[in-house]
Amino acid sequence: MSSLRLFLVENHEDTSKYMRLFLEQLNYEIRVAGDMATALREIPNSRYDVLISDIGLPDGDGWQLMEKLGPNRPPIAIAMSGYGTGNDRQKSRAVGYSHHLIKPFTPDALLAALRDAEEMRGKQR
């Protein structure tokens, strides 16, 4: 069983539902929020290892979310976005996302990012 605790922020209901089920099948512990306000409320109260967040959110964006979380942000973060311009990737890196997945991505691409996250966490310890 993976020991990573994940927090997913995704406002598209079907996507978040099936991503959650997929990751639960792989024994990840996962919590889901559909907007930035919920994420800001819930993340600081619990210790998550990885934040997976959509960049386009109904009440802000994934970059603002990282900035607002400040020291409460999970140690590893993965951004998901429909736009993959160099500028978007740079912004993601600048606010602390280690990966920037461009939608639509394959489940394997997400798993590869999570494997990287596990390695990064191992090194951080």
């Binding site: 598209h12 079907d14 996507t15 539902k17 099936y18 991503m19 089920l21 997929f22 099948q25 429909g82 736009y83 993959g84 461009i102 939608k103 639509p104 991505f105 394959t106 489940p107 394997d108």
Partner: protein
């Protein structure tokens, strides 16, 4: 060898500009002003329709001035030669095909003048720019639609298929394999769409 004479008005109509008939519609004046702006520097602060007319007046050949003024007043059509030059100074010959006036009391915004360039690549450049702008807008619209709709649904479907394949595999190995194959197909579709959106 025969030389085919292309009617410039017909050409404009084929390209999509309803060029020759007079329509006192400000939007069209603006559209033609854009063409005109390719030729002369617009003076700052002058209202576009007025600038268009003022620029025309000063460039009509002296022999045609009286005819033009008469038609201008009577709201009739006229053809006169107008001497223009491009912004870069290159000379151009333009033919004024139609002049009309729909409001005798206000000449600043009721005149529609249509120019058809003779032996000039300016019109071609204008339409190239026009078409290119339209293509860019359409490309952006399709990309946005793909992002908001198809891409998001495909992402959900790809994960749903993985989940389903795993569940089916515990019940029936063959069905699980078939669902996994659908998952591979979806993955390939995702990759194709990614490539399409980036191209």
């Amino acid at each position: 060898m025969t030389t085919q004479i292309v009617d410039p008005c017909q050409l404009l109509e084929e390209i999509g500009f309803a060029a020759v008939t007079v329509k006192a519609i400000n939007a069209e004046v603006v559209a033609y002003n854009k063409l005109f702006a390719l030729l002369v520097e617009p003076p700052a602060g002058l209202e576009s329709a007025r600038w268009f007319v003022e620029c025309v007046r000063t460039r009509i050949a002296a022999a045609d001035e009286e005819r033009w003024e008469t038609c201008f007043t009577n709201r009739t059509s006229v053809q006169v030669q107008v001497s223009l030059s491009e912004i870069n100074g290159e000379p151009l010959d333009f033919e004024m095909r139609t002049v009309a006036r729909s409001n005798a009391n206000d000449s600043s915004d009721t005149i529609l003048c249509i120019f058809v360039p003779l032996n000039s690549p300016v019109l071609e450049r204008f339409f190239d720019a026009y078409i290119s702008k339209g293509s860019d807008l359409e490309r952006r619209r399709i990309r946005d639609e793909l992002h908001k709709g198809v891409s998001q649904q495909l992402l959900g479907a790809a994960f749903a298929c993985k989940v389903l394949a795993c569940r089916l595999a515990t019940l029936n190995e063959k069905l699980g394999k078939e669902a996994a194959d659908v998952g591979v197909l979806l993955n390939n579709t995702v990759i194709d769409l990614q490539n399409l959106m980036r191209s």
